[in-house]
Every structure is written in C-alpha cells, then in structure tokens.
Symmetry: C2
Subunit: 348 residues, 2 copies
DNA sequence: GCCTAGCACTCAGGCGCCCAGAGTGCTAAC
DNA sequence: GTTAGCACTCTGGGCGCCTGAGTGCTAGGC
C-alpha cells in the first residue's frame, strides 16, 4: 500500500531519508542511502528520485552540494502512513513487552491524581528525552460531594469532590460557625448540587438553597461563589511539565535564539493550552507549522488523550523537534496515556 | 566605612567595576570607569588600582588586552558590604513605593497557599527576569485536624489540616464504611493526634487509637500509614518554578553547553532542595562556587525565608548569573518573601 | 610621594583567501 | 530505465593579516 502521489521507489527513498535524518540530524546523501539501505539501485538512481521528491516538496536541500532534509510535508505523509496502520519502515513501532511492563509499573499505585500526572510526565520525559506535558483532568465534571471543614473562626476549607478530581478552596466566614453548622451546610449543599456540573450552578440555585437555611445564607452564598470561581479559567486546567531542558540536547536547538522561544512557550500556560487542547480522540501529531502557535513551528507535538472511567478529561504528550522518531514516540505517548487513564480511573 | 583590606580608592574602583560589568556584561576598561564614574583621577591611576585588585583576587582579566571582570570573591565582598547595611553605590537598594504597592497588590487575596506560591514565583520572575523558585511550606507542623471524606466503597479521602498547610491523601478501605463511621474515626483521630507533629506519630500511638475502635482498626492503621508517608520525603517539600527560560536571556548563557546544566538542575527537585534549603534566617546569597551543587557554580542564588505566623516554613528566591544587580535583587526577594509570608499567614 | 601623560606591547577577533571534500546534476553508454 | 563518470558548486575549516582595544611601564609634573 502506497501513499498517494508516490510510486514504490520514491516512497522507499523518502522513508529512508526520514529514517536516516532522524538518526543523524544531518542532510542525507544519496551515497549514504545506497550503502546503508538495501534499495537495490545505485546512488545515481536514488539521486533521480531525490530530485523528484525535492520538486514535489517532500525534501529540501540546504545548499547545492548538500544532501537532503525531509520537509514538514514529508513527515506529515509519513505519520499519516504510520497512523493508517502500517508498520514503521525498519523501526519497531510496537513497544517491547519489557518496556510496557516498566511503564505499567511506574504508573501504577499512584493514590493521588497529581502524583499520577507527575509520574506520567517524568516517565515520558525520561523515555523520550523530550519535554513532556500533561494537562490536569478537566471537563464538565459533575459534583459529587461538598465538605466544609473548619480552619479557624474566620475561615473554612471547602472540599470539592467531583468526578476524577478533588479540589480545595478557602471560604471566609462572616461570623464563626460551629462544626455542626458546617456539617449541616455541607450536607445541604451536597444534596442540592450533587450531579450538577459547575456551569449549571446559577444564582437561582444559590438563592433556593440559602432560603432553606436562612441563618447560614451568607455561608451558602460564599460557597457557591467559590464554586463558580472554581469553574472559571484561572483554577481550571493546569499543566505538569517535565524535562524542558531536554530540548537543548537536540542539535537543532543548539542555537539559543532557536531554543529560547520554545522554552519560553513551554513556560506559558496559554501556549500549552493552545498547543495541547482540545483533547484528541486518539494520538494527535502536530508537525512544525501545523502548530497553532508560532513559537512551536520548529517543533512537533505528539499528544494523546487520557480518560477517567471512559471519558476524555485531559491530554499528555511531548514536544520535540520535527526531526523525531515518530513511530516510537507515538507508541510511547499512546501507551502512556493508556497507563495514565488506568491509574486515574483507579485512583479517584 | 570600608570593607576590610581595601582602601577607599580601591573600594570605589571595585564597586564601579561591578556596577559597570553588571550593566554591560563586558570586561570593564579603565578608560570607561574614568569617563562614566566621577572618581576624580585619571585612567592611569585607575589602572594601578585595578592591577592591585587583580593581584588580590577581586578582579580577573580574560586576556592581556582586555578589561577586568569581577570575581566571585569581589561579589561576595560587595554583597557582605550591602548586607551590613550600606547603601548600594549608585543603585537604589530600596524599592520605590510604587513597586512595593504593585507587589503587595499582586500577592494579596490568594486564598490557597498554592495560588500564593504560584503568584510569588511569577511575580519574582517577571520583576527580576530570572528563573524563580519557591519551596512549599514545610517544617515540624503540628496537626490540627483530620477529616475522612467518602469517595467510593473502596476509597476515602483523607484531609490533613496542619499549621499553614492542607493536604489530601487517598486511603483505601478494606471494607465499606458509612459516612458516620468515617466521621467517628475522623473525630477520634483528630482528638488523638491534634497538636502532634507527623514525626511524633509512632506505631504505639496507632495501636492505642485502634484499640479504642476495634471494628475500625484497619482504617485507623491505614490513615496512620498515610500520615507517615505524608511526612516522608516524597510528598514533603515540593517546588514551584517559573521563568526558567529567562536564564537564556543572559549573555553568559548564550552557549547552550553552559545553559543546559543549569536548566537541567532547575528541573531536578533534589538540586533545588540542596540549593535553596535549609531556609536562611533573612536573605541568603550564594555566589558561584559557594553553591553546593556543581551545576550552579556559574550562578548566584538569592533566597529568603518566608514565614507563616512567625515560623519559617519555606524559601523563595531567584537563580541568576553571578553578574547580577545584587542590591536590587536582594531587595526584591526580601520584600517578596515578606509579602508571601503575609499572604500565607492570612490564607490558612 | 602620589598622580598623570605618553608610549610600547599584547592579543582577540574580524576579514579575506584558499583549498579540500562532499554531494549534486547531467550526459552518455548499457 | 539504470548506471558510471565527470564537471560543477558550495560549505566550512585553516591560515595569515591587520586593526583596535586595553594594558603595564616609565618618565616627568604637582
């Protein structure tokens, strides 16, 4: 099965150039392909093919007497071909049983979602040697439980238990409340709000609940106000990032002027949001200029959705140079997202 | 008042070299000092002084026909002199009222300690343009309250309220427990453990509590086990880091081989631990080789303790090149630690 | 006795030059 | 359609030169 547009030979050559360039990070010469890949033809023939591929926009020649470098377009073709289920040419797409086992072991028995996410990005960063990112679980979560815990005379802690996540907020008390007061309000709120998602909590709902306990109306309103902030952007999705310095290991980022924009982008939540979200259905690969953020045009992003009890709630992935062993990276990210899904479904 | 060893002229020259080098990041020539600083003597005389300072180890000459660069030792002398209460030569050590106001405003009304820390490192990174780090509150915290909240049949959430911090842990239930069971155990544990620090919880204590409620002994033990892990290293101090890519703005880190070790170090918690902790009493400055970690020998760390209700619990600071406007940086870090202390004491 | 003007000396870094080596495109033969 | 051969192009490294910056030293001045 061939990629559209390319005959068998051209595809063979293109895949070989990609593989060679990924491995060596230097323009690939016809001679090198001839020696290292059993293409069964001479360097001159390969040159013809490379010439054609260059005219078609799949290869690029830094200067006249240099070899060829794959373009974003070539990587895209290659990745589409991989994603259509083809075995990667010469590269093992599947992870070995031992690797799977190692990943599974690292990801299991994380009690807390944050621990699981931290472990996920650490694992991914160490396995790929690329900066790794994960978003915290998000989505139209339904509230399960609200608990108020006294902290002091002026403050109580609001514990929000929702599907797949627990958050704490501090609520200020207008006047001291006893532990029983807090428990009563907690139960009332839980009964009234369980099953709703944060966005469904309107002022009307707040009023209705407050009416039921006139002497704790202030407290109820304060809690509802906090809940609505909790649904807001500021406290919503956050990101775990690990191994940003890995990008500096890559030859294409030896120049600080190239590397800095990328590192700066990885520091900024809005950028991560744009680059990673919305969550893909399976694995998503964005190559170079396909990225929505200019700072990332020299990078590829491989990301996969993770799920909690079947529902997609977040994304985990890596950021690397466009010159990337896609088959392996995709397999790793995909498997890690599965392991994370499993760990989270189990945890909360 | 003079620094030991140096006469008035030498000190004047040294401070001027430092100031000039901090501003321009290039070896400082005698002529330049003569023109830009009113030292009242000719370039030749300044040269004599610079020569002496070089022999004394305060200045360094990259090559014969270059100007002078301050050594770590020079910065140390300068910082000691600053910390002894001297006004910075030519640099305003104090922050302007407007700056203080801006910092205060950014730091106020953060309900949650994590928000306050995140805001602190963001503020510091944007004001200094250096990577900024803060440790989460730590110390021999006394427990105040324990709460168990049902999550499902198999799991409960353990909420640990201690001085200046709240943490969540998941506890696995051997067998289903009712909400009342959990409340009862929560109250029992709170009564037994409030006022103790985590390290004081021994097996004996656990046994004693468990004996009081034989039918919930498993649960009690599970909670105590979690508490002791909570005191352990893994879940103890964490770090907030912001603006790591700022280091690449500095001329001394234009070479990736210089920059990468520093960035990699900032990625690693153990390193941050060694570099930032233990918490200093006031502001602590570590210059170049004074740092306990080799990767940081080309950097200076300016860190200050922050307090919750008077007790030092954490550290906030910046990592920059040794060529740093110490007076300003120290003032910023000190003030930010104060603002953070205030914000945290208020928050939890 | 300290300061300064003048001067010789040193050295890094930029520029131009050359050359080797790598890799191509083309052409002619198979 | 493929291949061998060859001329051509271009980069990058090495080399030498030269300029400019900055010093250290010395001799003279207040």
């Amino acid at each position: 099965m061939l990629a559209r547009e390319l005959d068998a030979r051209k595809q063979q050559i293109l895949w070989a150039v990609i593989q060679e360039y990924v491995a060596r990070a230097e323009p690939v010469a016809s001679e090198a392909l001839c020696q290292r890949y059993g293409l069964g033809v001479s360097a001159a023939t390969i040159r013809n093919g490379m010439h054609a591929l260059t005219e078609m926009g799949y290869l690029y020649q830094p200067h006249t007497s240099a070899g060829r470098v794959p373009t974003d377009r070539a990587y895209r073709l290659y990745v589409d071909w991989l994603m259509a289920g083809h075995p990667a040419a010469g590269v093992e797409q599947r992870l070995s049983a031992a690797e799977r086992e190692r990943i599974r072991r690292r990801m299991q028995s994380k009690d807390h979602p944050e621990d699981a996410l931290a472990e996920a990005v650490q694992t991914l960063a160490s396995l790929t040697d690329y900066p790794s990112v994960a978003s915290t679980p998000d989505g139209p979560r339904r509230l399960q439980r609200l608990h108020l815990v006294p902290l002091s005379d002026q403050r109580a802690l609001l514990l929000v238990v929702a599907e797949g996540a627990v958050e704490q907020r501090v609520v200020r008390l207008q006047r001291p409340a006893t532990e029983d007061d807090l428990r009563q309000v907690s139960q009332l709120l839980t009964r009234a709000l369980a099953g709703l998602s944060v966005s469904e909590i309107t002022d009307g709902v707040a009023e209705r609940i407050a009416a039921a306990v006139p002497d704790q109306a202030d407290l109820v309103k304060a809690v509802v106000a906090q809940l609505r902030r909790y649904g807001g952007l500021r406290t919503g999705v956050r990101f775990f990032v690990e191994g940003v310095s890995n990008i500096l290991k890559q030859p294409e980022f030896q120049d600080v002027r190239r590397a800095r924009p990328v590192l700066a982008a990885l520091d900024r939540e809005e950028v991560l949001r744009d680059v990673l979200l919305p969550a893909p259905t399976d694995v998503h690969v964005r190559i170079g200029r396909e990225n929505p953020v200019g700072e990332m045009w020299s990078c590829s992003v491989v990301a996969a959705a993770y799920r909690v009890r079947g529902r997609t709630v977040g994304v985990v992935g890596v950021v690397g140079p466009t010159r990337m062993p896609y088959a392996r990276t995709i397999a790793l990210v995909r498997y890690l997202a599965q392991a994370l899904s499993h760990s989270l479904s189990y945890a909360v």
